[in-house]
């Protein structure tokens, strides 16, 4: 079942040298699944995620035929109605906890704030919910953590707190922008297990933005590969290693592999034609 459908999405920024297109005509759909978006920095993957929530600041501009959530076009909504969508229906986990958590509020206060946005309960109910969520993301000592400031916690904990915060409203769709790139492999596995569970148990749709091809291939159901603002290839995640586009192949080959040692790593040869070709549709 399709929850979210994006058709012909463009994100434009006016610059001194004319208009820069960060995202160029991207279309895709999302059901109750894990959809990966991979690409290098500057390929437009984060911009795609932000554009869905209409978080692109002026003078940046978002246009699309439609961005519909369960049939409702998000582009037609007023800013006020959008606030009802953000957080509650579609949540986003940002990349870096250092920049996304408020440094002068305790973790508990920030989480309570996010609870108060959507539910009216007593303070005690709110606190119980916060503690429950912190436990859900495998934080061992939640009572200590709610009274801590973000700088007193490690990057991995900060990341998990952001995840917990985004999960309080029980969103239908979660956009995770490099949620594990700051984490060690062992904590990364924990975080992925949490996300995985949410998709399976709550039927959530997950957009997983990452530059780690192997991770996406192992974790997601479908993958979109982006290059200079377009989708160059869409495929099933477990078939990523059989990808046909030279860009995808180039990325895969440039990775060092433990099981297949090479003298030299292959370097990507960029073909200008890749950027010109039309975006591939990721609608299923």
């Amino acid at each position: 079942m399709t929850r979210l459908e994006v058709e012909n999405l463009w994100v434009k920024f006016p610059t001194r040298n004319g208009i820069f297109d960060a995202v160029r005509g991207v279309s895709f759909s999302l059901g109750e699944e894990r959809l990966g978006i991979v690409g290098e920095s500057g390929s437009g993957k984060s911009m795609t995620g932000r554009a869905i929530l209409r978080l692109i600041r002026k003078p940046g501009e978002v246009t699309a035929n439609h961005i519909s959530l369960d049939g409702e076009d998000l582009l037609q909504l007023s800013e006020r109605e959008m606030r009802r969508i953000r957080g509650q229906r579609i949540s986003m986990i940002m990349q870096d906890p250092k920049f996304s958590l408020n440094p002068v509020m305790t973790v508990g206060e920030q989480m309570l704030e996010s609870y108060a946005q959507q539910a009216k309960g007593t303070r005690q109910q709110a606190k119980d919910k916060v503690l429950e969520m912190l436990e859900a993301v495998a934080i061992r000592d939640p009572l200590r953590v709610i009274n801590a400031y973000p700088h007193e916690l490690s990057g991995g904990m900060g990341q998990r707190i952001m995840i917990a915060m985004m999960l309080i409203p029980d969103p239908d769709i979660l956009i995770a922008d490099e949620p594990t790139s700051a984490l060690d492999v062992s904590v990364q596995t924990q975080v992925l297990n949490i996300l995985d569970k949410l998709v399976r148990d709550r039927g959530m749709g997950l957009i997983f933005i990452s530059h780690d091809l192997n991770l996406v291939s192992a974790f997601c159901d479908r993958v979109l590969i982006m290059y200079s603002g377009r989708i160059v290839e869409a495929c099933a995640a477990d078939k990523l290693h059989e990808a046909t586009h030279p860009y995808t192949q180039g990325l895969l080959k440039s990775l060092p592999r433990l099981d297949a040692p090479q003298e030299r790593l292959q370097v990507l040869d960029r073909d200008p034609a890749w950027a010109k070709a039309d975006s591939v549709s990721g609608i299923r």
Partner: protein
């Protein structure tokens, strides 16, 4: 002739509440010309070892010997000529208001070279940057180009040993491949010794002959890369690290 010999190294940090022992009783040998990798999760003490070697942390005990020179509280000028470091984040390790020319000429002057002009051209071509890059500022360079400048700066004093602290973890995979190739080439050309820190086992596997696995400040296992490739690590933590780096497995799948 030896590279790096570390014997019973302890490093600690004193905080008002307690003493944190970041590195505990570590023994490590890197022969001249070898390349050794340190892996482990963040906080396991791998970068701390590099910092202690370069003299950035004063609170240590044990003994460290680099290129036949016993290290004391103070590092000699000779030490800094022989040992250079490349840092993780090229966005933070280059002075934003110094051009590439300034960065390199300052280093060369400090180490007493006179033919600075020729050396800068040579260094830039060594790291694969054309002469056009010489008068650029860091903000005019991409992440990969910046890391090349940082490597050129490290090569300027003609060192024997390079300490590499996650040199590619801030870069895209395609750029990572270029930088790793460059490091492999430079090591062959200049006969360098590498001690490299990374959390990426595949990167260490590509670059190094030996892997030292660290956990909670201790080296739990040192093995040839070949053993790691054949999935034969003995320590449970090394196995865990290896398994997690081979890709994500859903909890459900592992049950099946």
């Amino acid at each position: 002739m030896s590279g790096i010999i570390i014997d019973k190294l302890n490093v600690w940090f004193d905080t008002p509440e307690a003493r944190v022992n970041a590195v505990k009783n570590v023994n490590l040998r890197v022969e001249k010309g070898q390349s050794v990798g340190l892996v482990g999760e963040s906080g396991s003490g791998k970068s701390t070892i590099l910092r202690a070697l370069t003299g950035l942390i004063p609170t240590w005990s044990g003994s460290m010997e680099v290129a036949d020179e016993k290290l004391g509280r103070k590092r000699s000028h000779r030490f800094y000529k022989k040992v250079q470091m490349v840092f993780q984040d090229p966005y933070a390790s280059l002075h934003p208001r110094h051009s590439v020319d300034q960065v390199l000429s300052e280093t060369l002057r400090l180490h007493g070279f006179s033919d600075i002009d020729q050396r800068i051209s040579k260094l830039l071509s060594d790291v694969g940057l054309g002469p056009a890059f010489r008068f650029r500022y860091p903000h005019q360079l991409s992440g990969g180009q910046r890391q090349r400048v940082a490597i050129a700066r490290a090569l300027a004093p003609e060192p024997e040993i390079l300490l590499l602290d996650e040199p590619t973890s801030a870069l895209d995979v395609s750029v990572q491949a270029e930088i790793l190739n460059l490091l492999v080439d430079l090591r062959l050309e200049h006969g360098l010794t590498y001690l490299m820190v990374s959390h990426d086992l595949a990167v260490i596997g590509h670059m190094c002959e030996y892997i030292a696995v660290m956990q909670l400040g201790e080296i739990v296992e040192i093995m040839p890369v070949k053993e790691m490739r054949e999935l034969r690590p003995t320590h449970p933590y090394s196995r865990h690290l290896l398994e997690s780096s081979l890709g994500y497995k859903s909890e459900d799948n592992s049950v099946q």
